[in-house]
């Protein structure tokens, strides 16, 4: 049984690695945001699995709950950010944008 959980955790970790690809490549902030969000949800699961592996689920459930409840706030903030600053693409080669952005 423990082995199963361990394997599950490892698989999830591998998926995180795949998500890393999206984070690196982008191409937009939104892609990265999504990828990070998915990593967040995966972390919740891994947390619980770790709890099971430690045999102390009761302790880890609190942390997972905190994640579950708070995970979306950053995304919400980012979303509202883009509502105001409409630019999703970031062009780093154009210095003019520095003054333009604010």
């Amino acid at each position: 049984m423990m082995g199963l959980f361990l394997v599950a955790a490892l698989v999830l970790l591998a998926f995180m690695g795949l998500l890393l690809y999206r984070i690196v490549v982008g191409p937009t902030v939104i892609d990265r945001l999504l990828a990070v969000n998915v990593i967040g949800t995966k972390s919740i699961v891994i947390l619980i699995i770790m709890g099971i592996l430690f045999d102390r689920v009761a302790m880890f459930i609190d942390i997972a709950l905190a994640y579950g409840l708070l995970n979306f706030i950053a995304s919400l903030a980012a979303a509202k950010y883009f509502r105001k600053h409409k630019k999703i693409h970031h062009v780093s080669t154009m210095p003019a944008e520095v003054s333009h952005d604010h």
């Binding site: 890393l20 967040g40 302790m59 609190d62 905190a66 950053a74 520095v98």
Partner: protein, 330 residues
Amino acid sequence: MLIAIEVGLLILVPCVAFVALWLRDLMSAVIVLGAYSFLMCLVWTGMGAVDVAFTEAAVGAGVSTVFFIAVLFNTTRNITFNPLDVSSKLVALVACLGFGYVLLQGVSDLPDWGDPYSPVNAGVSTYYIENAYADTHVPNLVTTVLADYRSVDTMLETTVVLIALLGIFMILKKDRPAQSDSSDTQAHDSLIIRLSARFIAPFIQLFGLYVVAHGHHSPGGGFQGGVILGTGLILMAMSMGMASAKRLLSIPRMIILAAVGVLIYAGWGAVPLVYNGYFLDYSVWESVFGSMARSHSMLIVEIGVALTVMCGMYGIYMSLVSDGGMQEGL
């Protein structure tokens, strides 16, 4: 058994960190840092440091990214970068290599990780492990150490949160706020966000209260609970708009509450002085609470911490996001 997971994490963590540094777009970097924080939380958990993991969870998932975004909101996403500035980079490189070398030198003869006979585990920790419950009747050792044995450190750390709030508030505060129509941007907010935020906020607050109160038995405590409570308020402020958030908890009141939080802590600790005891010596309450004196006292000081941290988080967010004007934000 967990070693496989840890190895996987230790591969991922540096990768994410590197990506965060490599990205030229600060917004992306901030978001990637969120992933970093998730992974770190897992690392802490893997090491068995659940309280640290909890803090990381609350801070990393909850407020830190929001703070970053709030700062970017009022500044810029771009970093001005001079590719010709090689010499300072060289200096930095040398400094980093030197620092790394020194650190590694130091690591070479440290005791093994998890060695039960290492000084850390054989020293003060032994006392804590053996006597903490008997001393305080609190099952969570970490809470005991933080809120009782080394209580004054915690009090000062709470003060640090207060100072951060006051400092940011004072630096950013504008005396004459720009009078712009703040309601119109907020009015366009989608109904879904407003309703769901309104729905979920009470649960967050409830959970926060639970974390504060249950810190004796499970990971958590005043600090984590305070952050969660503060995040709930931030959520409300984001969805309902600054104006209504200010009606909820005005800025002066927020500062006062934050100070009162520390005052609760320190005041409770100062009561023994009247009986000629030591500061923060909760044992004077034994006449009232009996053997639970220390336990209950810890709860009270945790409430103080939570109050300060909640107001701190909320106030810092409000200051950052409105650039001190307290008029409009995200």
